[in-house]
Amino acid sequence: MLSKFINHLIDITLRIGRSGVFLVNGLWKVVTPPYKLFPILKQLHFIGARSLLVITISGIFVGMVVALQFYDTLLRFGSVALLGSAVGLSLIRELGPVLTALIIIGRAGSAICAEIGIMRNEQQIDALECMAIDPFRYLIAPRLLAGLISMPLLTTIFTTVGIFGGYFVGVILFEVSPGSYLGGMYDSVLWRDIVMGGVKSFVFGLIMIWVATSKGFYLHLSSGGNHGSEGVSKATTDAVVLASISVLFADYILSAIIL
């Protein structure tokens, strides 16, 4: 029993160490030449451009729901004029970065993990090694860089359309004055809030790509030696769950540090 527990502990420690080395190696290849421009653009297109529609639609509806909920609550206290501040702050500081990250984990993170896992299964990563092409530079670094660039941009888009969604509900449907909605937001949102949203989205982007790529890359070392299509599906599910929980955990830590 004890030896089983110790073996489990050693296994977890090894995995954490391996993931840490994986991240450092990936980031090192991001900052050192030669840079792979075409793979970076391809990943920017996949993670960023192809997520635009889902981010825009989600952002509008989240902004509308947030405005609806805040309007109902603020109405009870006679503080409807604070609607713009409430919508703006909640989207910029919390909902924008977190929901964007969760959506992108589901859309792009799962696909990245599955793609790299299948490459591992079909010996494509071994083939890269045999061709003297560093898989970290060719596969991991472009995805890391694209994630780090895309996530803050997608969060900005999500938050912006969310604010307009809230404007539609507050100003158009419930006839809150446009001046108080936008003016209140302008007065209450500080640079610190925007920086917080930016830092969060950057960190969430890093977590998402790190978890997705490492789960796929180390598929062959996964517990039970479960490779094949079932192994890929398990690794993908694990990546989505782990990345989502890590994002929520990091959200709390960052909020506690910055606030």
Binding site: E122, Q124, A127, E129, C130, A132, I133
Partner: protein, 264 residues
């Protein structure tokens, strides 16, 4: 083969384990310049593990592997990559990148390791594809190719840098006899035309005896014999003769004990 000939691969006392399981036990093997060596054995005999050890994809527990005069276990990553530029590897299923076309797959090593201009890269790629009878398929994606075409495309990519040493994992597996024979002839042509040293892993007897200068037979991680085709045919070891005669290993099964084990 004699020791006067240049050794391209030299394996001494190689041992590898997977946890407690011994995967390779004291393997000693030399591969000489312009030689075609075939490594044979049943599934699980250690062929693929030996392949991974020779390529440096896996480090041995003990022993040494010299490739082109360099000791693999003593190389750092940069030197290992430099060495691998002289080695071509054709994988069993081709291992082509599914997001790249056949041409893009084949030209990838040239784009990564040379400063050649686009035009030269395209000419060299087309030459290799033509050599593999794939000239008209260069714009197809790997998913659109048959099994034999995938192997040939993988082979084209493996030889695009004109390597001194070529590895081929299971060239005949899953192919019909005609395609398999075509691929065997292609391997012989590559050796003759490009002076390559070739190591092939296979369990296809016909293919092995058609292309091999020498054959190494592995069983349960042990090297049973290394010799010419005639020496292998004359070998008295039952594991070799069973393999040549396509016979299952002689295992006596105690039916009562087995049933008891299942029902207890």
């Amino acid at each position: 083969m004699t020791d006067n000939q240049k050794k391209i691969v030299q394996i001494d006392n190689l041992c590898t384990r997977y946890g407690e399981v011994i995967a390779l036990d004291n393997i000693n093997l030399n591969v000489y310049e312009r030689e075609i060596l075939v490594i044979m054995g049943h599934s699980g005999s250690g062929k693929s593990t030996l392949f991974r050890n020779i390529l440096g994809l896996m480090m041995p527990c003990s022993g040494s592997v010299h490739i082109l005069g360099r000791e693999l276990t003593k190389l750092n990553k940069h030197d290992l990559y430099e060495l691998r530029k002289n080695i071509g590897v054709a994988f069993q299923q081709g291992a082509l990148f599914s997001s790249l076309s056949v041409r893009e797959n084949v030209e990838l090593p040239l784009r990564e390791h040379t400063a050649l201009d686009d035009n030269t890269i395209q000419i060299m790629t087309r030459m290799k594809l033509a050599q593999m009878n794939l000239a008209e398929y260069e714009d197809l994606m790997p998913a659109q190719l048959s099994g034999g075409m995938l192997k040939r495309a993988g082979l084209a990519r493996a030889v695009i840098m004109d390597p001194k040493l070529l590895f081929f994992d299971e060239p005949s597996a899953g192919l019909d006899p005609v395609t398999s024979a075509e691929l065997d002839n292609l391997i012989l042509q590559l050796r003759d035309a490009m002076n390559m040293t070739i190591i092939i892993i296979t369990h296809e007897l016909e293919s092995a005896f058609h292309v091999a200068d020498r054959i190494t037979v592995l069983d349960k991680g042990k090297q049973i014999i290394t010799g010419t085709r005639e020496e292998i045919k004359a070998c008295q070891d039952s594991r070799v003769s069973n393999m040549l005669n396509r016979l299952a290993a002689d295992k006596s099964v105690d039916g009562d004990a087995y049933l008891h084990q299942l029902t207890k």
